[in-house]
């Protein structure tokens, strides 16, 4: 006898009269009298399921729908579909939606509340954002995404990132804001017309305003590429203003210049202090501090140097009374031979300042100029924490500012490996299928933006943040074409994938220790890269391969796989999957060997990557820190040194706190009060402060397991 799988997963014997009833009722609604037709449909469906053991209710309904659509009773078919949709929606809202809403009120869904370590889910504006997210996610799953995409996402085969924003809202992921264009040409924001600033103070204030606005219209990170170059003219204007003032009162030009320089230095430092405070006190419409990244370091003019120094000195000082380590803006410092690499370079002093800053505040991360150009084709700051744009030219000129990423869909590679049961052939077949799914999912992101008009986000499309000035009624889709925007395939857990796929045969399956397995791992990444290259050719969109940060995804995929396949040693056992191509966090190797191990990947995953190493507190050993930075220069484009430097407000201890499963502890006075400490750890490409906002469970487990590479 045939059984039906109902929506809630329960089973029931197939019952043809129910079909008769449903069709009759649809006919009735359309005011058609043809009972034979209802019988005919039921019989036809019954004949197709005959002999089958199990049939999904959705397949039955699809068949009914199809039969009705191909009949003469189109009106009745429409009634049937409407009825079915209404019921689906009702069911949905009764179950999942109300459950999720309730969990915001009850604060009991860890996945939902701690998904993003930078959101404080206890406060009202964030709760409003979470609520909007819950509704947007449900609606998108129900009405926007094709069913098989939603199903693949739910099963954990792929992850459609940021469903709480897009595709419900026509939003994109992250971008490089064209601050230069906005400030040079002026723009409108809210009710104000803003002209070119006349001082660094104003320029910094306006920059903060732009960041706030832009961050409310996109869901990923906002970056400012080469902020030193962009703000330099305003430092100059400040100097000229002070010089004029100085000449009026001092009259000795040399002395007046000295005065003007001192005042400018002070203004510049203060401007960046205000900007940093502004960023850290702002709350975007997305219920969080804006995810903003400042890229700087290449400029060698005195103005640019002053900007660089101001940013670093402010960060070294810290935020507020307790001189806390801020987690935003993220700082990314560019290192280039001939600019700041060697003692004879003009900005070597600033590299030293950057080292001091990194030892005390963990940021800046570094961008190695030559390697970055080799891997991604040109120099640019990452969008958000690690998304990199490819090369794009307009009128023979390379453009970076104003460009963006349209979003990410990630593959659960360990899942494919588990399902392949040790067969490489099966693995690649399944990978091919999942890649196809991911491509279709990504295409929905593009389609969603297709007919959208510029007026949905004036700051982006009308006022210049995206580097163009459209009319409010213009369509925005063209600015994402021809590789101007990127759209990314993500992946996670190369480490676990190799264990799941080759662990049985080669013993431990430990990637690090086997040259053969290393090549297998690279081959997987190369296959994904070849796929995105093909999609790019086919569609003209800038498909890229992105090493997913997996802040919460490391937990989600692993949890789903554990549920489905049970505890698999070295794979689902730990409660998290390893970040993209990264070395197993428990593997004890020195940072040099870790760099060597990871350096092969960025060139394949050039749409997004970061490498980092775990260090002890390095405040007293900048020389050693510089040795590691220098070592990475011709090996990895983007590197972060995780050098914990926590502070205890109870005993004034500065150094690394002990990470325990129950939280963090001062090694000197054993203080565990999370209000009396500042603890900073790397979450992904971003930092987080786990003492005040706990990481999601899998992430905390990963943090506790991290071993020092020195």
């Amino acid at each position: 006898m045939t059984e039906i799988i109902k929506r809630d997963g329960s089973r029931q014997p197939f019952d043809a009269p129910r079909i008769v009833k449903a069709v009759a009722s649809a006919l009735n609604d359309a005011q058609i009298k043809d009972h034979d037709f209802a019988e005919y449909v039921a019989k036809k469906v019954a004949s197709t399921v005959e002999g089958l053991e199990l049939v999904d209710i959705y397949d039955i309904q699809d068949q009914v729908e199809h039969l009705m659509m191909s009949s003469e009773y189109h009106n009745a078919a429409r009634k049937y579909i409407e009825y079915r949709q209404t019921r689906d929606i009702e069911r949905e809202s009764r179950n999942a939606l109300s459950r999720d809403i309730l969990s915001i009120i009850n604060q009991d869904n860890e996945e939902l509340l701690n998904e993003n370590a930078n959101k404080d889910s206890k406060i009202i504006p964030t709760q409003r954002d979470l609520l909007a997210g819950v509704v947007a996610r449900h609606y998108a799953r129900q009405h926007i995404l094709p069913k098989h995409i939603t199903a693949a996402h739910d099963r954990g085969e792929i992850h459609y990132h940021d469903l709480d924003y897009a595709p419900f809202f026509p939003m994109f992921n992250c971008m490089l804001i064209d601050i230069e264009g906005m400030m040079t040409n002026g723009f409108r924001m809210g009710n104000a017309e803003i002209e070119t600033p006349k001082s660094i103070t104003t320029a910094a204030a306006i920059t903060a305003q732009i960041i706030a606005q832009v961050s409310s219209h996109i869901y990923g990170g906002t970056s400012i590429n080469e902020i030193d170059r962009i703000h330099a003219p305003y430092v100059r204007k400040t100097f000229e203003k002070h010089l004029q003032q100085g000449m009026r009162w001092i009259r000795d030009e040399e002395k007046a210049r000295e005065y003007a320089m001192e005042m400018t230095e002070k203004d510049c430092y203060d401007a960046y202090q205000a900007l940093e405070y502004e960023v850290n006190t702002l709350h975007t419409a997305n219920g969080q501090t804006p995810f903003v990244t400042f890229g700087f370091g290449l400029g060698t003019s005195w103005e640019e140097r002053m900007v660089q120094q101001s940013i670093l000195k402010n960060r070294i000082r810290g935020l507020g009374r307790n001189c806390k380590t801020p987690v935003f803006p993220k700082l990314v410092f560019a290192i280039k031979k001939g600019v700041n690499f060697s003692p004879e370079d003009p900005n070597y002093d600033i590299k030293q300042l950057a080292l001091e800053c990194a030892s005390k505040r963990m940021y800046p991360d570094i961008l190695n100029y030559d390697k970055l150009v080799e891997v991604t084709g040109s120099f640019k700051t990452p969008m958000g924490c690690r998304s990199f744009l490819g090369v794009y030219e307009e009128d023979g000129k390379m453009i970076h500012d104003g460009r963006n990423n349209l979003g990410v869909v990630s593959l659960n590679l360990p899942r494919i490996a588990i399902e392949s049961k040790g067969s490489e052939e099966t693995f690649y077949q399944l990978l091919e299928q999942r890649l196809q799914l991911a491509k279709e999912a990504l295409m929905t992101r593009i389609q969603r933006l297709d007919s959208v008009r510029a007026r949905v986000a004036p700051i982006l499309y009308v006022e210049g943040a995206c580097g163009i000035r459209l009319k409010p009624d213009d369509k925005i889709s063209d600015i994402f074409k021809n590789g101007r925007a990127s759209i990314s395939l993500g992946y996670i857990g190369i480490h676990e994938t190799i264990i799941a796929l080759y662990g049985g045969k080669n013993g431990s399956g430990d990637l690090y220790d086997s040259e053969e397995l290393r090549q297998k791992a690279v081959a997987i990444v190369e296959t994904m890269r070849a796929a995105v290259n093909k999609w790019k050719q086919e569609t003209g969109y800038g498909f890229s391969l992105y090493s997913t940060p997996s802040e919460s995804l490391c937990d989600r995929f692993c949890r789903l796989d554990k549920k489905k396949f049970g505890v698999i040693e070295g794979v689902t056992e730990k409660g998290y999957y390893t970040n993209s191509f990264h070395l197993d966090v428990e593997k004890k190797v020195n940072p040099y060997d870790k760099v060597d191990f990871e350096q092969v990947y960025p060139k394949h995953a050039s749409g997004g990557f970061i490498c980092y190493g775990e260090y002890p507190n390095m405040v007293n050993n900048l020389k050693a820190l510089e040795n590691v930075w220098d070592y990475t220069y011709d090996k990895v484009p983007y590197y972060g040194t995780n050098t914990p430097n926590d502070s205890c407000y109870s005993c004034d201890y500065e150094g690394e706190f002990n990470a325990t499963s129950r939280g963090f502890e001062c090694p000197q006075c054993k203080n565990r009060d999370s209000d009396k400490m500042s603890v900073t750890r790397r979450v992904c490409g971003y930092l987080g402060q786990p003492n005040s906002r706990p990481f999601i469970k899998g992430k905390q487990e990963e943090v506790v397991r991290r071993v020092k590479h020195l």
């Binding site: 020389k623 050693a624 820190l625 590691v628 201890y653």
Partner: protein, 163 residues
């Protein structure tokens, strides 16, 4: 001379990127010592020619640049360690005159015997003095308690023929 631990790459014992050797044997027995297992000179592995060669090779590594060698323990100036130490530091200075040697000892500079001074003359930075629990301060670089001193010993003042 026995050793308990050798780190071919180390950044927490002295400035720069270093090789660090922890030898066994210490007669100070300071209260609160975080390394009490190193007091017994018989503990650990015999420091042999192969180990010495390995340190020399690591210091000369062209891929990962080392600033120098750090000697800790135990106490490298424990009487039983002196002949072994002397041979090691002489060879390091002979082969890498530009690399520095840091040494941690529980004796103070003023109380060193002649044999200990013979070793110390090859040392660039000496951290001296016993660990005193009531003066424990985790914020001090390279030291455990505030009575301990970081002494730069300028070997160029008394140049010696190294054979």
């Amino acid at each position: 001379m026995n050793y308990l631990q050798y780190y071919p790459i180390d950044v927490v014992n002295g400035e720069g990127t270093r090789c660090t050797l922890f030898v066994s044997g210490c007669e100070h027995h300071c209260k609160g010592c975080h390394n009490a297992t190193t007091w017994d000179a018989r503990k650990g592995t015999a420091f042999d020619q192969a180990m010495e060669d390995r340190i020399i090779a690591d210091l000369g590594d062209s891929r990962i640049k080392r600033d120098g060698l750090s000697l800790s323990g135990g106490d490298p100036l424990f009487p039983g360690n002196l002949s072994g130490m002397l041979k090691l530091v002489q060879r390091v200075k002979a082969e890498y005159p530009q690399k520095n040697i840091w040494l941690w000892t529980g004796y103070t500079l003023e109380e060193l015997s002649q044999a200990q001074q013979d070793v110390v003359q090859y040392i660039d930075v000496l951290i001296d003095g016993r660990f005193e629990l009531d003066k424990r301060d985790l914020s001090l670089p390279w030291r455990g308690s505030s009575n301990q001193r970081i002494i730069n010993i300028n070997i160029t003042i008394t140049p010696r023929q190294i054979t």
